[in-house]
Symmetry: C2
Amino acid sequence: MSVSPPPITRFERLQRLAKRFPQLDSSGLETCITLLRLSNDLSDAYDASLARHGLSKGRFTVLVRLYSTSETEGGRGLIPAELAESSCVSRATMTGLLDTLEKDGLISREDHPEDRRMYTVHLTPKARQLLEGMLPEHYRRVAALMSPLSEQERDTLRELLAKVSTGLPAFREP
Amino acid sequence: MSVSPPPITRFERLQRLAKRFPQLDSSGLETCITLLRLSNDLSDAYDASLARHGLSKGRFTVLVRLYSTSETEGGRGLIPAELAESSCVSRATMTGLLDTLEKDGLISREDHPEDRRMYTVHLTPKARQLLEGMLPEHYRRVAALMSPLSEQERDTLRELLAKVSTGLPAFREP
DNA sequence: AGTCGATGATTTGGTGGCTAACCATCCGGA
DNA sequence: TCCGGATGGTTAGCCACCAAATCATCGACT
């Protein structure tokens, strides 16, 4: 039996790759991987938390958007295209989200008064009750998540993330 | 006809919500939302870039992991469980990834010499050729993505992301 | 008035990921 | 020796999301 060799870390493999591919910017790639991994973990944790209330990220986002709009704008309702945009999903996906939300009695569709192509979406009392029951807990969780960062660090983080955003077009091009 | 009222921003809606829910930490939530959105955008861009070569994030990660291991450890091969772990997917998902990679002629499964429960996974020459053709371009893109950040900013970003990671257990708890 | 491009919503078909349950094999202790 | 828990991989069934094609309606232009 031979002893197992010392484990090779991700960082070491990356350094080897960088030797072979001069285009590889190791600090950039390392940062990118870190970001993608945290994203994944955070996204999973978010989903798991919402799943306890029978919601997904998409469903939750729609409900909160409707809730915060009705709070501030007197329940005029929103159309699916607006909801899709503000929830960062396609319209096709929004149709599906609204279908299941309606089936679960959390939203209602009402005829748009001026344009028969669309309709307006409204929260039901049941949805309001659900949100008011779960949001305090949810916001407490988010606060706990971010508690390791000072106010200044949060500002810095948002600023750095915004800088990465500015690099996205270059990433996508040709 | 009435003129349309001034649009209400996400930030303003958030401030209204914060009045109603004292648990809401607005800078924390704002930072969290920023992070989730960039994650989503980056993830989509990443997928789109890999899709040009017929790969998904999962498939790509597996191939690169195999490639970098064979480069440094003489092609000893990896077992599915190791690949699942280092790719952050479940073992069930890894089975599916390997199935399609094998069907596309990019990996081969070979009997594990010592344990008949498992097998080892190996890159085919076709996969090597694919990677060597696409990696320079891919790494160039990642470098472009990160080019708006100085070395110091990258360090800071990784550090702040690591801090957010430390908050994840608190986010998940009960 | 009639037509046609723009704009909405939906349907269809596909992908990638997950969990839970399953079977096979290994290995250590009775 | 053999049994049972640990550790593999796979299967079956689910969910969220997407792109592309389709259908309805609107509105502007002739």
